[in-house]
Amino acid sequence: MISEQAKQRMRDLAARYPVARSAIMPALYIAQQEEGYITQVALQAVAEAIGLTVDDVESVATFYTMYYQHPPGKKVIKVCTSISCYLRGCDALVSHFEKRLGIKPGETSADGNYTFMTTECLASCGTAPVMQVNDEFVENITLKIVDALVDEWNDELGKVSDTNAPDSLKSDGQGRNIKDVEPKTEIRL
């Protein structure tokens, strides 16, 4: 369902640009916010607000990776794997995420909690390795930070047990749970 308010915002955008079709991209963002991803309803609403065909709008929506073609998980995790993060060990983080979440890059967990992706350079090479969680940066990531975050999310999303995680990953070896360990770097979420 696209609210009337959202449709009005789309029409306002179409009027704001010198040419209405320029509003496709911001209107798609509005539709995605309402629907969770780019549904047929979303395409229809954008097409109607701007005065284009649904196919035309879809041709734009499918070009850009930030318009989701499938429902994303509650936490969308994007780990950068470009050159600077590569040089700083991002591949180890990717494998660690795979183990902890039980999904491969590009997949969404069966419970709908997580979508895990690798992504191209996120313009944060000075604090590599980096990732984004629901579009917000987490910088200077370490395996410990990954563990602490996954534990935190599992609690938040109400996941009872982390069946995919070997016991060795759940503890720092000193009898403390990883999530009690203060991460060294600032985590902005």
Partner: protein, 430 residues
């Protein structure tokens, strides 16, 4: 520490607000530009300052402005803040910490170019940067810096923030305009250049975020002052984004002409190579530029010297690799980027970047043949200069330069089926 220009107050608390920005001289330059200069005089001033584009190509900014077609069509300004070149993270910092500086620069450029609608195209992934710039635009409207009759003059301007949605290609200026017009980001054939037929068919100036953010300081302090920094042909300072195997990665603003060695080893900047290992290779201007060997570490970071050393200053993204880096694997990683980001419009780039990646993959994983190395060079030759935009060319830079510099390493992979070094990816952030 040398005098800073663009990042002078970047860590000042509250700089991201209108009041905070004004406390550090914000919008003084705009006031002077509008009250003391005719638009043409500003174009001359920027020409005299020697300021060159900070996006990648390094084209003189004032000259770019003067190329705008003189006709009765509506002119547009686009700020390219679609920062996505691997190794580059300066524009994001400017937008997050000092968004008004970009907005002020965009208004000054619009005034100089007789533009009445300006677009700030901010990369979609940079959510915080987008929010910061959006708020700065709103504050500038409320303060009368944007809108009708700015500061009591005849100059009126509308500024629109446009968020990208995940496509590296939209950093290419003609693809950026396509995207702004609500289409897939496919590059246009040039000529005509944007200065003649650009956005919505009007003469269009497209400037990088850092370029625009430099303008207020140039206006405040004068062209001669700005040109007194840097070298004769590469004036001023620029933000170098230092990343990879250095102790202190980060953004460092330095006068153009500063040797690479200073940036990497000086305690004020990079602080040396991680674990005090040996330097192996340097990418001087983002992953689209040719790799330089360690012997080039004394090259001054200015457009001419880096070109003479066999590469380009590009976006200012300096990526450092130490002795443990497997060059084939690192190049494969960069090749994957271009394969994924090729828009698919031109066959040489779409198919070429795919095959480059496939071949690098089999060499890296011990399935390569000796002839693959020449095959890579041949494919690079068949991509370069044969597509609408430079993305395909960019994909070949690291490959051709690494084969020239490290051919032995490629041969070792082919003959022994493994790497001769321990591999950069072994570095684990535990």
């Amino acid at each position: 520490m040398p005098e800073l220009i663009v990042t002078k107050d970047i860590d000042a608390p509250g700089l991201d607000t209108l009041d905070g920005y004004r406390q550090h001289g914000g919008y003084e330059a705009l006031t002077r530009a509008i009250k003391e200069y005719q638009p043409d005089e500003l174009v001359e001033l920027v020409k005299k300052s020697g300021l060159r584009g900070r996006g990648g190509a390094g084209f003189p900014t004032g000259m770019k402005w003067s190329f705008l077609a003189k006709n009765d069509k509506t002119r547009y300004l686009c700020c390219n803040a679609d920062e996505s070149e691997p190794g580059t993270f300066k524009d994001r910092m400017i937008m997050e910490k000092s968004p008004h500086q970009l907005v002020e620069g965009a208004i000054i450029a619009s005034y100089a170019c007789n533009v009445s609608t300006a677009f700030l195209y901010v990369r979609g992934e940079l959510a915080l940067a987008g929010r910061q710039v959006e708020r700065a635009i709103e504050e500038a409207y409320a303060a009368g810096y944007i809108g009708k009759n700015i500061l009591g003059s005849d100059f009126s301007l509308d500024v629109i923030l446009h968020r990208g949605a995940g496509a590296y290609i939209c950093g290419e200026e003609s693809a950026l305009m396509e995207s702004l017009e609500g289409r897939r980001g496919y590059p246009r054939l040039k000529p005509p250049f944007p200065a003649v037929i650009g956005l919505y068919g009007g003469p269009t100036v497209i400037n990088n975020c850092e370029t625009l953010a430099t303008l207020p300081a140039v206006i405040r302090n004068g062209a001669e002052w700005y040109a007194s920094f840097g070298t004769e042909k590469s004036t001023g300072t620029r933000i170098f984004c230092l990343s990879g195997h250095v102790k202190k990665p980060g953004n460092y603003e330095l006068p153009l002409g500063t040797p690479i060695r200073t940036l990497i080893y000086d305690e004020q900047y990079g602080g040396g190579i991680l674990d005090d290992k040996q330097l192996k290779a340097i990418i001087p201007g983002g992953s689209s530029t040719f790799i330089l060997g360690a012997d080039k570490v004394d090259t001054p970071l200015d457009f001419e010297s880096i070109a003479a050393a066999g590469s380009m200053l590009g976006s200012g993204g300096v990526v450092v690799m130490h002795e443990d880096t497997c060059i084939v694997d690192a190049v494969l990683r960069m090749s994957e980027f271009y394969r994924d980001e090729s828009c698919g419009k031109c066959t040489p780039c779409r198919e070429g970047t795919y095959w480059l990646t496939e071949i690098l993959h089999r060499i890296e994983h011990g399935d390569g043949k000796e002839s693959d190395i020449d095959l890579l060079m041949d494919i690079c030759d068949n991509i370069s200069g044969k597509s609408f935009c430079p993305l395909g060319d960019a994909a070949t830079s690291s490959i051709t330069s690494s084969i020239k510099l490290f051919r032995e390493e490629y041969l070792y992979h082919v003959r022994e089926g493994r790497c001769m070094v321990s591999g950069g990816a072994a570095l684990v952030a535990s």
